[in-house]
Symmetry: C2
Subunit: 228 residues, 2 copies
């Protein structure tokens, strides 16, 4: 299920179409949809003699400073991966797993998924307004509308957090969907093949031990949207 | 939720403990459990001037050629990311998302998750027996026991597939679980906080359009194990 592929999304050859061209999508809307749905992405940064890949929360701002949109990732100012990313070309990949593709041969086993690969130079956000907005978007990415219900971050909290901005300029999208593709001879042999659908599903919100209030509407609806 | 951290798992400083030491686990069993449960991992490889991060299926062999176990990743022999990985230090990260941590401030919003980061030099598997075994393990990782029910791969299929082996020597595990950790003043203010539990859930297997046989027991039990 791994491939470097790209689409007209990318103006440079850095994400040029690799394997399985037919799985490359040409639609920026598909890129945005995957990034909006992904609760976690994986950021790769060169830390010297090798890349390190770490899970990150993300936020997308299509009205941000970059013409094609901006991807935001944040972390502690003390996190080495983050300071290492400054002014470097990083790769942020979001993958949504949709199913196990169970074929009639090992070779044709696969996964149904939607993945977005973004490659770009990471900028540490210095502008206080952009930084505050990026942090709000990050909270709202997890629970839409939530940032407006919270107290504003303290100066200390903002100072302890670093935000990376990656332009949504160079990107690729890959989607695998549908039945396994088996060899005719295996199909004729009559064995079963199919897909085990998968999704990320929420269950009912669990109040913290020190929480005595009712679950707020934004959390209830987010959990419901995720299947709770 | 991002961090470079490591544990006594790692004999070198390349994955030395970074942020949130308390979230580092010292237990190899935890590493193996995360890798066993993960249906997808993300491999990072330097492709020249930047890393590329791609979703990969994985398999683990604790009785493999490497003392601490071997992580296998496979792909097409024509996949650039894979040929680029040969004899390079790559990073393979598996992340299991367990919940949205909804705090009383944006700053303390987080995710509950279990992640494993493996850093090691990738070796292209040449030995036919090891390669065949790695491919069986990869199928069985998706549906336990399935490889034994399939026809053996053809010589052409094996030749078209490249398998990377990464030693499970340098690794780190990070786990975040439980309630949000809010500031006392925010707790006293009385707003709600809690967790929205998340899991990857299967639904009933869907037979392929060209499949007329019954869903086999291994697929039924795998789907059931994943909540179908």
């Amino acid at each position: 299920m791994s491939t470097i592929d790209a689409t007209p999304l990318s103006p440079t050859p850095r994400t040029t179409l690799g394997r399985s061209r037919e799985r490359g999508l040409t639609d920026r809307a598909a890129l945005h949809a995957i990034l909006r749905e992904a609760l976690v992405a994986h950021l790769g940064v060169d830390v010297g003699d090798h890349p390190v890949v770490l899970p990150v929360a993300i936020a997308v701002d299509l009205d941000g400073p970059d013409a094609d949109g901006t991807l935001y990732v944040h972390g502690s100012v003390a996190a080495r991966w983050l300071t290492r990313s400054e002014r470097r070309t990083v790769c942020v990949t979001a993958t949504l797993l949709d199913g196990l593709v169970v074929a009639r041969s090992g070779f044709h086993h696969s996964m149904n998924y939607r993945s977005a690969v973004v490659v770009g130079e990471a900028r540490i956000v210095e502008d206080p307004q952009e930084k505050a907005h990026a942090l709000d978007l990050t909270v709202d990415h997890v629970v839409p509308g939530r940032s407006a219900t919270l107290r504003p971050p303290t100066r200390k909290e903002v100072a302890a957090t670093a935000v990376l901005a990656i332009p949504l300029r160079e990107a690729s999208v890959k989607v695998r969907a549908g039945d396994p593709v088996d060899d005719d001879t295996d199909v004729e042999a009559g064995a079963w093949a199919g897909v085990v659908p998968l999704s990320t599903v929420a269950s009912s919100p669990v109040s913290a031990a020190d929480s005595h209030d009712e679950v707020p509407a934004d959390v209830v609806s987010r959990a419901a949207q995720l299947g709770a």
